[in-house]
């Protein structure tokens, strides 16, 4: 079972949770992965009844597997399951059965995005164009702040782009009111430009060069620089540039004062957000 790549979609039986199903099917197709539909329940149901409960209708992918796990710890069970297979991605709706749009994420999604070490794609149920089974991102937006941590997400992004042929928009955002990253080896946008014609291009080529060496052939990489509040900029940039997906590196912390950009982005964007965890 471990040898087969896996995409996991946790479902709780709500229509809201099932809104992510199309994206999960699409990812499974793209990755040629087994789609695991995982439901954690206190009471085992017959398969037919379960399918009805999960409200997923017709399943378009050929290779899928329905897993009913009896238990109370939904997040823990899903993560344990994810660890037992070769999980490439967990796809889930931002909310589930107790849908409250005022809350950033539903409790299960919140638990999974914080604890999963696998990439997690979060789908807002109120998105105008919910990804369907044939969805294939053509362009991906990857915000980068010049830190090695942010750069680390490129491995996953390249894998996806290699499978989909999606081009990549790398976006650096100049921010006022925020200190530049202090991580060793970080190259945020230059604070000083002696001669912009040289320094700017020098920085840009170095910025790109850091990702370029591992770039799969045929993938186009463009660097953009914008200024402003990061989540707003990402949201509007994705809209203006028709990016189908926003991929972000993060450390898995959603508590107060952490990952403010991730939180705001999850609230405001109408694009799928792929969160890629990396160690602090």
């Amino acid at each position: 079972m471990r040898n087969r790549p896996a995409v996991i979609i946790p479902l709780d039986g709500s229509e809201i949770a099932a809104k992510a199903f199309g994206a999960a099917e699409a990812m499974a197709k793209i990755m040629e992965a087994m789609l695991y539909i995982v439901h954690v329940t206190e009471e085992q149901l017959p398969e037919e009844e379960l399918l009805k409960k999960l409200k997923i209708g017709r399943i378009e992918v050929r290779d899928f597997s329905l897993h009913q796990i009896v238990g109370k710890d939904v997040v823990g069970e899903i993560l344990r399951f994810a660890a037992s297979v070769d999980t490439q991605m967990i796809v889930m709706s931002s909310h589930g059965v107790s849908y409250n749009p005022k809350r950033l994420l539903g409790s299960n999604t919140m638990g999974i995005v914080q604890r999963a070490i696998n990439p997690v794609m979060v789908i807002r149920p109120d998105m105008k164009n919910l990804p369907g089974p044939d969805w294939k991102p053509q362009k991906m937006l990857v915000p980068q702040d010049g830190t090695p941590t942010a750069a680390a997400v490129m491995t996953q992004v390249y894998r996806l782009s290699k499978l989909t042929g999606a081009d990549i928009d790398v976006l650096n955002i100049g921010v006022s009111g925020r200190r530049p990253p202090t991580e060793a080896g970080a190259i945020p946008a230059p604070r000083y430009l002696d001669h912009p014609r040289y320094d700017w291009t020098g920085w840009a080529s170095e910025f790109i060069e850091r990702f370029y060496a591992q770039r799969p052939p045929g993938v186009e990489l463009r660097l953009y620089e914008r200024e402003g509040e990061p989540a707003n900029v990402m949201t509007s940039f994705a809209t203006e540039n028709n990016d189908d997906l926003i991929a972000l590196g993060w450390h898995g912390h959603l508590e107060a004062g952490r990952a403010e950009t991730v939180k705001k982005l999850l609230r405001e964007t109408d694009r799928p957000v792929l969160l890629i965890w990396s160690r602090e």
Binding site: I173, G174, G177, P180, P190, Y192, D194, E209, R210
Partner: protein
């Protein structure tokens, strides 16, 4: 004073890898003296990896008690003790415990034979005389026939007396043949009784019959060290005290001499009354000489090894692919003629190797602007083990990896331990440098050791053309140098038509490993290829010598490069390396700034000086230093005002020949500058804002943004203040060096012609006031302005200095002046015009003491940069271009630059108020800015603020806080950092008639020592925080030095002075005594 009787130059130049010596009489007087001094020096050598081998006739216990027990640590594994005349060899394990490595065990039959021979000799002598003879049986595998038992342990120093007494004893007793006859008997009985390989020796007191002698110890060294480690014989030194004959017998150390191992150096420190055999150097001097030679070896190894002081080292531990290009920039080696980035020899996908030659410009296409061409990469090297290339790309293979830039010596060291998938561990070391002593010489040493396997190792090292970014010169010819040996690439720039020749010759030291050598030539370059079957722990060193010449240097660069490569190879890498170390030591003797109490600041200061030294070229006055020196290509190698205003002072005060060459570069580009002025219908000269070798303007007129937007670049046309930078640099050099030849031949013309430009550039209003309209000051956020105060006042200053130059030339050098006057068509009426312009130049003082940066600046939207302190991009990026232009945001020191350069024109109150006003409005959007603000803050006594700016300037490259160090180091920031220390914290001001200072050191700095050149004299300042300044004046002549705010004092040469801090101010200098007085 030397303890040796003769000078032995090789000891100071040849780092021996094996040093083997006799103990008693050579290393120590006797076996009872304190061996701690000799242990100390030999231990130092072991720490450098030298194999120390003691060869003695005595047993291990004696040597262990006296010497070995004094040494502990991992280096003790490099110690070997060959005892009992070649019978036994003891080494030491990692716990410093003795381990028997070799032991000759006698058979019962051999032992019986030894007894028989000794006893036969004894009986023979006693049968034919009244002499009684003793036999010492309890010696391992040998017997000692004691000819004079009543004298126990005669010291070696009494050898003459011993000889006399022994002969007397034998002869008086009736054994007329004496010692020689006894020796002959031993030889005879050895043969007769069948001890086929018996060894007979004599130390006069004894005739010794044994199974081995000291030659067996040497054979062990050759077999176990020389051969297994592949150490050439030439790297072996053997010392003794008795090589020559004693009493007709060969000396006790003679058997250590092996004529069939050519290249070993033999030295005797003994008295050698009968001389030494051919091939042995007689140094004499006994153990004292021995210790002296070992100390000289230690000094030599210190020179050839990385510097210990961490403030002179940049170290990268492991391998950080993301930062690779940044590391390459910072770790660049160079010598002013060229710079080579610190790229990995074998390259990874992240590598951007680059060698840039000062002045080697070309155009990518016709009519494009010139940029530095990148020449083929000379460090290219790949290592293969059984056909598989060693690479850093798989991080699991990296057991250790370290790159160290030794800024003290200008050497890049690299150490790497690689483990392949099948567990084979290979240790690789690289050393490379660009010779500061010989600008065309480059050298590299590649050391490969298979730690735990035997297999085929292949090293391919060459000159490779292909690379990733930048503008590469294409090879025109690739071949071997001659007869299939060495390789050569000759390239040619497309439009500027320069020929560049690079010749490479590599050599392997003549060890015992057989290598196969061949050369390769392919599309991307040329290489030499070494291949050999390696045994575990066997060391192989390849020395690579590269010579680069261009047709800028001489007419036939190919010939010069080829011949030089052979010349360097003949001298050997150690010789070039020693020359390199000495050259750098010489430069640091005047460039070093020593800061006590702040190691971080010390590192920044060293880094700044290092990169400036590697960028300056005193030998070529057709080049100057570009914005990123020779460490990267993003500024295309263009030369800006940075060179004259920010970097030049470092050279003026630490290495005037380089400063002179930089100014002569400006002089040689006068035709281009004259044309620039003429194109604007103006007189005099206008130097190019971005300059190459021609002096033509190389600033692009526009760039196309990624969005397709065409952005005009106005700096080339508008930043005319570069003229004042050249003039300021010229004047500073002149007043600091008093270089009359330069001033009369070039300096005066530079001042006059730049002034003429301003005289024709100004516009006079109805009130007789002169203005400079449509100009751009250092603040590039406001591009076309009127009456930029920096430009106005610097132009007036330029004109005044030109007038000074005319008066000086006319009075002091009338003949030279007459020629210059005619050459430039000077009219004395110009002096009147200059006087009028200078005295009526528009000076804004409309808002109290605050100087308006340019006309209309005060009407712009105010800004406080501290409101934007936390940000992740430059302030103009955050604000946006349109908002920036209408705001008071200043890019870099503009008015504040003026407060520094023309300090005398403003009161302290004006300086303080303007500094505070502009400090809150300056975004420091340029790397040139923080150091100048820090400098003025330091002069104002705002030490905390000055220290903060100093940190900002010091970390621009080292923390990569510009985000673009990958494209090269920020040379102006480095020059600015130096100026902040000297002109700021030391408070140095250079005036026509003398030098002032007023130190205000950061709190953390307990002490600061610097050396400055003034009028050819060396001034050494030792500044102790809140205590005193000690000044040692060099021997060249009198100098005028004073405390700023007081009058100048005339100080005598060769004298020490001191100025005290009285708690509130510095007092005048007081004579302490002659140089060296404390």
């Amino acid at each position: 004073m030397s303890d040796c009787l003769i000078d032995f130059p090789a000891i100071k130049k040849s780092p021996y890898k094996i040093i083997a010596f006799d103990w008693d009489g050579t290393a120590v007087e006797n076996r009872y003296v304190d061996a701690a001094p000799v242990a100390h020096v030999l231990e130092e050598l072991m720490k450098f990896g030298v194999y120390i081998v003691i060869i003695t006739g005595t047993n291990f216990g004696n040597i262990d008690r006296q010497f070995c027990s004094l040494i502990t640590g991992p280096h003790k594994q490099n110690l070997f003790v060959c005892t009992d005349r070649g019978l036994e060899v003891t080494g030491f394990d990692e716990k410093s415990e003795p381990v028997t490595l070799y032991k000759r065990v006698a058979t019962e039959k051999e032992n019986a034979l030894l007894d028989s021979v000794a006893e036969a000799v004894k009986h023979d002598i006693e049968a034919h005389s009244n002499v009684s003879i003793d036999i010492v049986y309890n010696r391992l595998n040998r017997r000692k026939i004691d000819l004079i038992p009543e004298w126990e342990n005669p010291p070696k120093s009494q050898i003459g007396e011993l000889l006399e007494k022994t002969e007397e004893r034998l002869k008086k007793g009736g054994f007329k043949g004496g010692i020689k006859a006894a020796f002959a008997l031993a030889v005879k009985y050895t043969q007769e009784l069948g001890l086929s390989d018996g060894r007979i020796t004599s130390d006069v007191k004894h005739i010794e019959v044994g199974l081995t002698d000291k030659s067996d110890s040497i054979k062990w060294i050759i077999s176990e060290l020389s051969s297994k480690k592949n150490i050439p014989f030439t790297d072996t030194l053997i010392l003794g005290d008795e090589f020559g004959p004693i009493a007709g017998f060969e000396g006790s150390d003679f058997r250590t001499y092996l004529p069939d191992a050519p290249g070993i150096t033999y030295v005797s420190v003994g008295k050698e009354p009968n001389g030494v055999p051919a091939g042995i150097i007689h140094a004499g001097g006994g153990p004292d000489c021995f210790v002296q030679m070992m100390e000289e070896q230690v000094e030599l190894y210190k020179k050839l090894s990385p510097t210990v002081d961490p403030t002179f080292l940049l170290t990268e531990e492991g391998y950080q692919p993301l930062r690779e290009r940044e590391t390459e920039s910072l770790f660049t080696i160079g010598n002013g003629y060229l710079g080579t980035r610190g790229s990995l020899e074998e390259r990874t996908p992240e590598s951007d190797p680059m060698t840039l030659l000062a002045g080697l410009y070309d155009r990518p296409k016709a009519k494009a602007i010139e940029e530095l061409s990148i020449v083929p990469d000379w460090v290219f090297t790949r290592i293969y083990v059984d056909g598989r290339e060693l690479s850093l790309e798989d991080e699991r293979s990296i057991l250790e990896h370290r790159r160290v830039l030794d800024m003290k010596k200008g050497i890049l060291w690299r150490e790497w331990r690689h483990r392949s998938e099948n567990g084979r561990i290979t240790s690789v070391k690289f050393l490379r440098f660009a010779s500061l002593a010989q600008p065309h010489a480059l050298a590299m040493r590649i050391t490969v050791v298979p730690e735990n396997y035997r297999g085929e190792i292949r090293v391919e090292t060459g000159l490779m053309a292909n690379r990733k970014t930048g503008f590469t010169i294409e090879p025109a010819e690739m071949r071997t140098i001659k007869d299939g040996e060495g390789v050569l690439i000759s390239s040619r720039t497309k439009f500027t038509k320069y020929t560049v020749a690079q010749a490479q010759l590599s050599r392997v030291a003549p060890g015992l490993v057989k290598q196969h050598y061949r050369t390769y030539i392919n599309k991307s370059g040329v290489s030499e290829d070494w291949r050999w079957q390696a045994e575990p722990q066997q060391v192989l060193e390849i020395e690579k010598f590269v010579s680069i010449y261009t047709s800028r240097d001489l007419p036939d660069p190919v010939k010069a490069a080829s011949e030089s490569a052979y010349e360097y190879a003949a001298r050997g890498l150690d010789a070039l390396l020693l020359e390199q170390v000495d050259a750098w030591e010489n430069r640091w003797s005047t460039a070093a700034i020593k800061i006590t109490g702040d190691t971080e600041a010390q590192l920044w200061a060293n880094f700044a000086a290092y990169h400036l030294i590697t960028a300056g070229n005193p030998f070529d006055e057709r080049v100057s230093i570009s914005a990123r020196t020779l460490t990267g290509s993003i500024y295309k190698g263009h030369i800006f005002w940075d060179a004259d205003m920010f970097m030049l002072p470092f050279f003026i005060y630490t290495h005037p020949p380089t400063a002179r060459a930089m100014l002569m570069y400006r002089y040689h580009t006068l035709p281009g500058a004259r044309k620039e002025a003429m194109d604007l219908s103006l007189r005099g000269v206008l130097f190019a804002w971005e300059s190459t070798i021609t002096g033509d303007e190389m600033t692009p007129e526009y760039v196309v943004a990624p969005t397709g937007e065409v952005i005009l670049i106005l700096t080339g046309k508008m930043e005319q203040h570069i003229n004042t930078a050249v003039a300021y640099g010229t004047w500073q050099y002149w007043i600091s060096t008093n270089d009359v030849e330069f001033f009369t031949q070039a300096g005066a013309e530079l001042l006059i012609e730049t002034a003429r430009f301003w005289a024709s550039r100004v516009e006079k209003d109805d009130e007789g006031i002169y203005h400079i309209l449509n100009v751009e000051g250092p603040d590039e956020y406001h591009e076309i302005v009127n009456d930029n105060m920096y430009t106005n006042l610097m132009a007036a200053w330029n004109i005044d200095r030109a007038a000074d130059a005319v008066h000086y030339m006319r009075e002091a050098h009338p003949e030279v002046w007459a020629r210059l006057k005619e050459k430039i068509g000077f009219d004395y009426l110009e002096l009147d015009e200059w006087e009028d312009i200078s005295s009526h130049m528009y000076r804004d003082m409309t808002d109290g003491n605050i100087i308006e940066q340019f006309d209309g600046y005060f009407n712009l939207k105010d800004i406080n940069v501290y409101d934007y302190e936390q940000r992740t991009a430059s302030l103009d990026t955050i604000l946006g271009r349109e908002e920036t232009v209408v705001s008071k945001l200043v890019k870099q020191a503009d008015v504040v630059m003026l407060l520094y350069l023309l300090e005398n024109e403003f009161s302290e109150e004006v300086i303080k108020e303007n500094f505070e006003y502009y400090e809150r409005r300056t975004g420091h959007g340029s790397s040139l800015s923080p150091s100048i603000y820090g400098l003025v803050a330091a002069r104002l006594g705002l030490t905390t603020l000055a220290t903060r700016y100093f940190r900002q300037a010091g970390t621009i490259d080292l923390s990569n806080n510009m985000g673009n160090a990958a494209g090269g180091v920020h040379a102006a920031a480095l020059g600015g950092l130096w100026q902040q220390i000297i002109m700021g914290f030391v408070g140095m001001r250079a005036e026509r008639d003398g030098l002032f200072m007023y130190p205000r050191l950061p709190k953390q700095w307990q002490r600061l020592t610097i050396t400055l050149f003034w009028h050819g004299n060396r001034l050494e300042f030792d500044i102790e925080q809140d205590k005193q300044i000690t000044l040692v004046v060099g021997d060249t002549g009198e100098v005028n030095v004073g405390i700023f705010g007081r009058t100048l004092q005339t100080l005598s040469p060769g004298t020490t002075y001191r100025a005290a801090w009285d708690g509130s101010t510095w007092l005048e200098f007081v004579k302490i005594g002659q140089k060296g007085a404390t």
